[in-house]
């Protein structure tokens, strides 16, 4: 190394390169030489035709020695091309390579102008600035860094597989990451490969197996790269391992789970031509040979159910014909299948995603179907649950809440006793809901099922009359659950409510339902007015009609939209003849000799929304009118009768207060739920309360400290508007009903679905979350490999180098408007035809068209579908289509001997070994080629019609055929884009990965240590992809073969004398290359530079206020000098 000299002492040689005419054609070399000759510290100026040539380099070396130069400027092309070349040359003579600089007078000068004088002027200036730079340059030595000799390959298609195998075989550990459940990529989908026609799978699967068995390869399938840090030789990569909900160690690939799974979804491996299960293995030869459960959040129907019934689960099971399994699943969360199947307000249906397509799944009626089905085929009640617990629990009130609570406790083995005031169980179910909606047998069915679990029942036991809560505790009950409901009818608070002929709705309904009082004579032939808009009001009105009322009207304060009663009940009521008077509030019940004769009402208008969110009714002054009637039924609202619980805390309006986490009241050991707590609510809400109380009681009795019920906010499964648009509309199954003429009796109105109807309806389900968590797979798996609670994991790896083999996709034919936007079933893409041809495909290798399974007798192949079309689609040629279309046509003719294969093409491109011969073979075997791009494809009358042209004869060609195969363009995968952002590596405008140099560095990226393999970089066929993969692998191996890496010394140092230790630079450094540390004095701070990490970006020197941070060989002083030189006249 030459000892340091002060700037002006340096002897600098300038060598001007002609670069043929690239430079000399524009820059007047002689003038440049003349003008530089006497420039300070330039010892010698020479020129050469090609400085980079051997003689050119020799000239430089000799001159350095002869002239005793200690600095060199080569004026030539861009430093990215030849800086290394000339620095090596300089170094070989003994001077420090960093004292040799490039003045770029080609890219930045001769190529950007045709004006010779200007070019010459600029060349001189550029050279002068670089001379100045060299004057200030200091000799530097590269920094050496260690290498982690472990590689990662992203993407396990054929390219990724090849790259991984080559690196692994060279003896280096390789981590192979694949996003899909199996490796193999698109090649695994192909039938035969051109031009040799050997079976794609047959040549690929051995490699796949080799990957699996290779000691140096760690395979992470169903995994994604999430983050990268570090630099060449020393990267850290974060990999997310998506869970399969199946333990790889245990799964033996037997496939029993898939047989048991009721959910069928589109099979992407068959390019959408077949269905697969929610638990699946893409194809039999998959590596690893493990099944995967696909989950996309939770279906909205499940989230909507207050009792957490797995609606999606039982619907899917019904679709699969597993009715008993469906019922069992339903009963895990709700024992009232038969009841709720009839009267549930089914929020699940309002939240069903199918609403976005047409109408929701008839979830409720499906529930009824499985319940009825069980009875129809004669059911076996479950045996009593063994009493494994000893703490007795008393339940007061045999309505839905009480029964549900008893059910869940009994299942846990607790001794439970229900105390019911009435002679029979059922509560509001039997007293409040009329038989034409909910027949007794339907209620009994559920109650029998519940009691079968071993529950002790004491009827005719009224709290406060026959026993007290204290008694119960004295009699050894350890916990009490209060579920006495809300049966106290509220008054209107208007004159005349005590007239005879005025009924509280619940009394009215109870008399009829329990037949405790015969109202027929009273109602028959009379006019009845019901006041209120809830389900009870509607039930009462419909009941009155059945009792023979001649005229029934409902008077409601708000409008139809605000009516709390179920929409479908209101519709039935109207059909049956109930009149509804909206926006009217009663002001007085009119009577004559103590009998009702009518109601005085007032018109209402809707004001702003109230607490319940419904718009408030506001009386319109002087709008009174009279409704003549003989009977008035008050159905305003009901409240719980809590007079029996003096010492329990209550809400303002008199309901019992409970801790929402365990339903315990203000008194230890006493729990409450149902209408008693919530006020009048639905059956399903009562069930939910009962279940929660059961859990609360268990926690209490087991002495577990109360853990607040965690508020789960599940990711609700959704589709995009585009996806919704793709679903076919299918009519919702109509519930068969008895004719209106038979609605005078109390016969049940709804008849229920037939098995066929139920199955068909269930099959409309969109399977929003894919897996429905029915747990059938868990039952089926003998290896016990399935665990639905598994979570995604992520792992970080230290690697030295990375190969990107992210592959391609085919252009979605939905965007090809003139070709039918993908709406024609018999217009398919190339990948789909590969599946049709493939022995393992949907038609097991027989050529049959998707629409009707017929063997197509004439198939038209359309090339350049989306390729070579800069105006509308992809500007580039997809390269493989010409050959695979020839292959398709040929294979089609081999399969269908009397078939006609016609190919529309723009050009046939057969550049490749054996390709032209293969093309000839296709024509020899009778494939017809027509030179012209297809303009339009449409399907009508069962025929597909293609509008093309034959440009060679100048004729428009109109062809009818049975099937069209589109050679759709190759496009980059969306994942490539995400990955590129993570890796900060470049994409071109179409989204393909960009190589470092199109000719000289085709498998490298701009980031040192990242290499490219396969179609992720651009359209390629298999041999090309494989070749590139091996090339990338050898790049990695070459990198690893070095002991250590040289890190350019152009880094930022720090001048301790100037550094104030402010630490600004630490913040701006993107590479964590600068740290603050204490000086020797132990007080003040100074900067420490981690040279290995410094990339020489210069951010710190820009930020440094004191000028302490200086870039080596790019100091402020140096740059100023260079700028000056550049501006000299």
């Amino acid at each position: 190394m030459v000892e340091k000299k002060t700037k002006n002492q340096k002897r600098i040689g300038v060598f001007v390169c002609h670069c043929g005419i690239n430079i000399a054609g524009t820059v007047k070399i002689d003038e440049v030489l003349r003008r530089l000759k006497d420039y300070p510290s330039i010892a010698v100026v020479k020129d050469h035709q090609y400085c980079c040539s051997d003689p050119g380099q020799n000239l430089i070396k000799e001159t350095i020695v002869k002239e005793k130069l200690d600095g060199v400027v080569v004026a030539c092309c861009s430093p990215t091309l030849h800086e290394p070349t000339f620095r090596k040359a300089a170094a070989s003579t003994g001077i420090n390579p960093y004292l040799c600089e490039i003045a770029n007078i080609r890219e930045q000068c001769s190529w950007v102008t045709e004006d010779k004088d200007k070019a010459t002027e600029k060349a001189v200036k550029i050279i002068k600035t670089m001379v100045k730079k060299v004057q200030y340059d200091e000799p530097l030595t590269p920094i050496s860094v260690p290498i982690t000799k472990r590689a990662m390959v992203i993407g396990a298609g054929v390219a990724g597989i090849q790259a991984a195998l080559d690196i692994a075989n060279a003896g280096y550990e390789t981590i192979l990451v694949e996003k899909n459940p199996s490796i193999g990529g698109h090649m695994a989908q192909l039938s035969e490969t051109f031009p040799t026609l050997d079976c794609s799978q047959c040549i690929l699967t051995p490699k796949m197996v080799e990957v699996k068995q290779h000691p140096n390869i760690k395979l992470f399938s169903y995994s994604e790269v999430k983050g990268v840090s570090g630099y060449v030789g020393n990267f850290k990569v974060k990999v997310k391992k998506k869970t399969r909900y199946i333990l790889p160690t245990k799964c033996n690939g037997c496939g029993d789970c898939a047989i048991a799974c009721p959910v069928s979804v589109i099979n992407e491996f068959d390019a959408g031509l077949s269905k697969r299960k929610a638990v699946y293995r893409p194809f039999p030869q998959a590596v690893p040979n493990i099944f995967t459960i696909e989950k996309k959040g939770i279906s909205p129907c499940r989230v909507a159910c207050p009792a957490g019934v797995n609606a999606h689960g039982y619907v899917a099971l019904i679709a699969a014909g597993k009715y008993q399994e469906a019922l069992d699943l339903e009963r895990q969360a709700n024992p009232f299948a038969s009841v709720c199947g009839r009267v549930c307000n089914h929020p699940c249906e309002s939240n069903c995603n199918r609403n976005q397509v047409d109408k929701p799944i008839a979830i409720c009626s499906l529930k009824r179907f499985i319940a009825d089905y069980e009875l129809k085929k004669g059911r076996q009640l479950p045996p009593p649950v063994e009493k494994v617990k000893f703490d007795k629990v008393a339940i007061i009130g045999g309505g839905p809440a009480g029964l549900a609570c008893a059910y869940f406790l009994a299942k846990k083995g607790y001794p439970v006793t229900i105390f019911e005031a009435l002679p029979e169980l059922g509560g509001m179910l039997i007293t409040g809901i009329p038989e034409f909606r909910l027949p007794r047998p339907a209620i009994k069915a559920d109650i029998d099922y519940i009691l079968a679990h071993g529950i002790d029942v004491k009827t005719n036991q009224t709290l406060g009359k026959d026993f007290t809560i204290e008694d119960l505790f004295n009699r050894g009950y350890k916990a009490v659950f209060l579920a006495t409901g809300a049966s106290k009818g509220l008054k209107l608070g208007v004159p005349g409510e005590n007239l005879s002929g005025v009924y509280q709705v619940l009394d009215f309904l109870r008399f009829v339902n329990l037949k405790t009082k015969d109202l027929t004579t009273e109602v028959n032939g009379k006019r009845v007015a019901v006041i209120g808009g809830g389900n009870a009001a509607v039930d009462a009105a419909r009941t009155a009609l059945r009792l023979g009322a001649k005229e029934v009207s409902i008077i409601y304060r708000r409008s139809r939209r605000e009516m709390p009663a179920n929409e479908w009940e209101i519709e039935e009521a109207e059909k049956e003849g109930v009149k509804i008077v909206y926006l009217s509030g009663p002001t007085k019940i009119l009577g004559k000799d103590n009998k009702v004769i009518g109601i005085e009402c007032q018109k209402m208008e809707l004001g702003p929304p109230d607490a319940t969110g419904r718009r408030m009714p506001i009386p319109i002054p002087k709008s009174e009118f009279t409704v003549e009637t003989d009977i008035v039924i008050l159905a305003v609202s009901q409240a719980p009768d809590t007079s029996l619980f003096p010492d329990l805390e209550k809400t303002r309006w008199g309901a019992i207060v409970v801790n929402p986490d365990n339903m315990m009241t203000s008194q230890e050991g006493i729990f409450a739920g149902g209408d008693l707590v919530s006020g009048p609510a639905t059956v399903i809400e009562a069930v939910a309360a009962g279940r929660k109380a059961a859990e609360g009681i268990e926690m209490y009795l087991e002495g577990e400290e109360l853990k607040p019920a965690e508020k789960p906010n599940p990711e609700i499964a959704q589709f995009t508007p585009e996806e919704y648009a793709l679903f076919k509309k299918e009519p919702r199954a109509e519930m068969p009903k008895i004719p209106l003429t038979e609605r005078k009796s109390f016969k049940e109105v709804e008849l229920g679905f037939s098995e066929e109807e139920a199955k068909r309806e269930a099959q409309r389900c969109l399977n929003c979350s894919v897996c429905c968590e029915c747990m059938e797979c868990v039952k089926a798996c003998e290896a016990e490999a399935i665990d639905h609670n598994l979570k995604d994991e992520s792992e970080e790896f230290e690697i030295g180098s990375l190969v990107l083999a992210t592959g391609y996709e085919v252009l979605d034919k939905k965007i090809l408007g003139p070709y039918g936007n993908g709406k024609y079933p018999d217009v398919i893409d190339g990948l789909q035809f590969e599946r049709i041809l493939s022995a393992s495909g949907p038609t097991s290798g027989e050529v049959r068209r998707p629409s009707d399974g017929k063997v197509p007798k004439r198939v038209v192949f359309v090339q350049c579908a989306g390729s070579r079309d800069p105006e509308n689609y992809m500007p580039y040629c997809s390269k493989v289509c010409c050959m695979y279309t020839a292959k398709h046509a040929l294979l089609y003719k081999h399969r269908v001997h009397d078939g006609e294969a016609i190919i529309f093409y723009i050009d046939v491109r057969t550049g490749g070994k054996g390709f032209e011969e293969f093309y000839k073979r296709a024509t020899d075997e009778g494939v017809i080629y027509i030179r012209g791009k297809v303009s339009k494809i449409f399907e009508q009358n069962g025929k597909v019609t293609v509008w093309g042209a034959d440009t060679l004869t100048g004729k428009k060609v109109e062809l009818d055929c049975d099937m069209v195969v589109l050679a759709t363009a190759m496009v980059p995968t969306p994942q490539t884009k995400t990955l590129a952002t993570i890796l900060k590596t470049a994409l071109d405008e179409q989204g393909w990965l960009v190589e470092a140099h199109p000719k000289l560095r085709p498998v490298e990226t701009m980031t040192a240590g990242f290499y490219l393999a396969g179609a992720g970089q651009g359209p390629k066929d298999i041999p090309e992809a494989v070749a590139q993969a091996s090339a990338a692998a050898s790049k990695v191996v070459a990198l690893f073969s070095q002991k250590e890496l040289q890190h350019a010394p152009i880094i930022a140092g720090v001048d301790d004398d100037l550094c104030s230790g402010c630490g600004l630079c630490v913040g701006v450094c993107p590479y964590q290359a600068r740290e603050l540390e204490l000086k020797e004095d132990g007080k003040t701070k100074k900067i420490k530079v981690v040279e290995v990490l410094c990339e020489g970006c210069g951010a710190c020197s820009a930020a440094c206020p004191s000028g302490a941070a200086q870039q080596k060989n790019l100091t402020d002083e140096q740059i100023q000098a260079m700028v000056k030189a550049g501006l000299e006249e």
């Binding site: 105006e871 012209g932 303009s935 339009k936 509008w947 042209a949 440009t951």
Partner: protein, 131 residues
């Protein structure tokens, strides 16, 4: 054939009047393939453009084909190279009409047609066919 150079001016005139770059066409034929009247056209759109590329201007100007274009614009909408033949043929017709050659003589149109058809048919027709 290849009189391109001798016809430089008129071809660049056609390009100017149509706003289309004739050399952009790579003869895929999708214009012909989508043309509703191609079955009767002589030459078909792609051929007409080809002839212009080769400088056979007179042949195209004298051809029948250019008079059949209904200006439905399918060709231009689907052309992968953004060449709009409707515009080119519009320019070609203009060139002929400007040399005072009427394509249609208004007084020779059948009376019934004039009675039945909407006037916009004739206005459009005359604009395209009468100089």
């Amino acid at each position: 054939m290849l009189e391109k150079n001798s016809n430089k001016e008129i071809i660049s005139l056609i390009e100017e009047l149509s706003g289309q770059k004739i050399s952009d066409c790579f003869q895929c034929g999708s214009c012909t393939a989508g043309c509703p009247v191609a079955f009767a056209m002589e030459p078909v759109p792609s051929q007409a453009i080809r002839m212009l590329q080769l400088g056979m201007v007179q042949e195209v100007l004298n051809s029948e084909g250019i008079w059949l274009c209904a200006a439905c614009n399918v060709c231009g909408t689907r052309c992968p190279r953004g060449v709009d033949y409707a515009k080119i043929s519009d320019a070609l017709r203009a060139l002929v009409l400007r040399s005072k050659k009427n394509r249609v003589e208004p007084d020779k149109i059948s009376k019934d047609l004039i009675y039945d058809a909407p006037q916009q048919a004739f206005i459009a027709g005359f604009r395209k066919f009468v100089g």
